[in-house]
């Protein structure tokens, strides 16, 4: 199965209201055996994408393939191999942990002993006759993960699974997912609005912002990209000469009457300024501009816990 695509969307678009696109031509591609961190600020379209993938929203435009099969034609087959947790825990509050799993055990056709196994896995095997409504948010979240893991799915789709967990719970969940991935080869698609969280567990990353998939690639590719993103804008009275002066030393581009070069550091900015002034050019402004992606990283990292 290596290198085959477990999830593939093709020009996936979706709008809740006419005129405003929640998702805009998303081409997502998740390789078998990977942990795909789906990153984006709140409201970027993460949950919408995940809901589309498991059929909770009716697809409007584009195609969705899971396990290489068109989702809508093979809904049941695909769902049998998929475990999911979308948004807040979905549990029957009047039932115990065991009973909650029992509800799904038959549907997924699992053996009885599997319930004990997953409860132990998420450390809820001692809750006995305690009703789920008496659980803490962290316990509820862990039980929801247990529901998703019950049938040992080949694909796990988790929407912000560490939401509401304490730091310890976050680490445990992360380790659990890594272990699932390592030992069972489970492909995991996990969304988050926290870049550091994704960096700690994902092998691949997709970044979504305002419904558009801005970046998709491996974790090292992402880290490479992060460094390159800031650009220096230089505005002067003489564009051609400015370019002449700078082109020997820098990779330059220009747009309208502005020269763009990759940002390095403040000392370089000062040196550029000096060089231009000494050549008799009037420098109107020099400032570094974050690209959209960089701004996005700022947003994501600013939400650090």
């Amino acid at each position: 199965m290596t290198n085959s695509k477990i999830i593939e969307t093709n020009n996936l678009s979706f709008s809740f209201k006419k005129g405003s696109k929640t998702l805009d031509n998303v081409n997502m591609s998740v390789t078998a055996g990977s942990i795909y961190g789906f990153l984006g600020p709140n409201g970027a379209g993460k949950t919408t994408t995940l809901r589309l993938l498991i059929g909770l929203l009716r697809n409007q435009h584009g195609s969705i393939k899971l396990f290489g099969q068109e989702f809508y034609q093979h809904r049941l087959e695909v769902l049998k191999k998929t475990g999911s947790l979308i948004e807040q825990p979905s549990l029957y509050q009047h039932l115990t942990a065991k009973e909650n799993l029992e509800v799904y055990r038959g549907i997924y056709d699992c053996e009885k002993k599997r319930i004990g196994e997953v409860l132990e896995l998420v450390d809820l095997n001692k809750t006995g006759s305690k009703k789920t409504k008496q659980f803490s948010l962290g316990m509820k979240q862990r039980l929801s993960i247990a529901v998703a893991l019950l049938h040992n799915p080949e694909l796990l789709i988790l929407d912000e699974p560490t939401n509401g967990l304490d730091p310890n719970g976050i680490i445990e969940t992360r380790e659990l997912l890594k272990k699932m991935n390592r030992e069972n080869g489970t492909t995991i698609l996990v969304s988050s609005h926290l870049l550091p969280e994704v960096e700690k567990m994902a092998s691949h990353v997709g970044i979504i912002h305002q419904g558009k998939l801005l970046f998709q690639g491996s974790l090292p590719e992402l880290q490479l990209l992060k460094k390159k993103q800031t650009i220096l804008e230089i505005e002067t009275n003489d564009l051609p000469r400015t370019m002449d002066i700078l082109k020997s030393k820098f990779e330059i581009q220009h747009s309208a009457n502005i020269v763009l070069i990759p940002f390095k550091d403040n000392a370089t900015n000062a040196a550029i300024n000096k060089m231009l002034v000494e050549q008799g050019i009037d420098v109107y402004s020099i400032h570094s501009r974050h690209s959209d992606l960089e701004q996005l990283f700022m947003d994501i990292t600013a939400n650090n816990i």
Binding site: R51, L56, R58, L76, Q88, E102, V103, G106, D109
Partner: protein, 256 residues
């Protein structure tokens, strides 16, 4: 097989739920009141129940039930079972599990009907039990000297069940539509009260919320027919609204 699995899951969800307790308490309510009435006012009820005590006992029991409590119970149970999913935010998990839309829809609907039949069964047992119990305290009652006409009782229950089929489908649809449980209950209650007001209307046999009362009056008249016109209408409403509700669920844009 899959359908049985889905239904089994649905039944598990009703464990300790409000729907379960409503069925038990709903069934207990009238027999308990009857017991108290018979026990404290034997001078009124012994003569009343002198001839054919079981028949009168059951007719009076179903009469108290059918006019208002039974349709109300149907409205509530049809709302409470889908509410289990709304309240717990579990629709999404249900729709993300490998069950066909048909299984999801019909297993829940079957669960509602099993709850209704469970309530009918309990009601009948509690009615028998309350009569026997009062007879134990006061042997002037003649329940123990008479036998129950189970065939007639079964017919009454069967006809009552048929009479609520239409309401159940309409209410199930409404309850799947609205996340807020007040909406289907309010609408159902509105229909029910309207039906009670227009009871004299010559087209009342077309108004589903009036069917339980119509069934009861026809049963009392000993008309003998297994299915009256309004009961056939009830089956018609049931088929049409079940179909509408299923299509509505299947083709809904947002699920869960």
């Amino acid at each position: 097989m899959n359908f049985i699995t889905s239904t089994r899951a649905e039944l598990l969800k009703t464990k300790r739920s409000a729907a379960f307790w409503l069925s038990v308490l709903g069934a207990l309510f009238i027999p308990a009141i009857f017991f108290l009435m018979y026990y404290f006012k034997p001078e009124v009820f012994i003569p009343m129940l002198k001839e054919d005590p079981w028949r009168i006992h059951f007719i009076r029991g179903w009469q108290s039930l059918s006019a208002f409590l039974l349709p109300m119970f149907i409205i509530l149970i049809c709302s409470l079972i889908p509410q289990i999913e709304f309240k717990n935010n579990t629709w999404k998990q249900v729709f993300a599990s490998p069950q066909s839309y048909g299984n999801i829809f019909f297993s829940k609907f079957l669960t509602i009907h099993l709850m209704i039949l469970f309530c009918f069964l309990l009601f009948t047992l509690f009615m028998i039990f309350s009569a026997l119990l009062v007879n134990l305290f006061n042997n002037k009652f003649s329940f123990s000297d008479n036998s129950i006409d189970f065939a007639a009782l079964f017919k009454l229950i069967f006809k009552t069940y048929v009479s609520i089929l239409g309401i159940s489908a309409i209410q199930y649809w409404l309850s799947l539509r609205f996340k807020n449980f007040i909406a289907p209950i309010g609408i159902g209650l509105g229909f029910l009260i309207t039906s009670l007001i227009i009871m004299q209307w010559e087209h009342i046999f077309k108004v589903p919320y009036a069917f339980p009362i119509l069934t009861l009056s026809s049963a009392m008249n000993n008309a003998g027919k297994w299915l009256e016109n309004h009961e056939l209408n009830s089956i018609g409403y049931f088929v049409v609204f079940t179909f509408i509700a299923f299509l509505d669920l299947k083709f809904r844009k947002e699920k869960g």
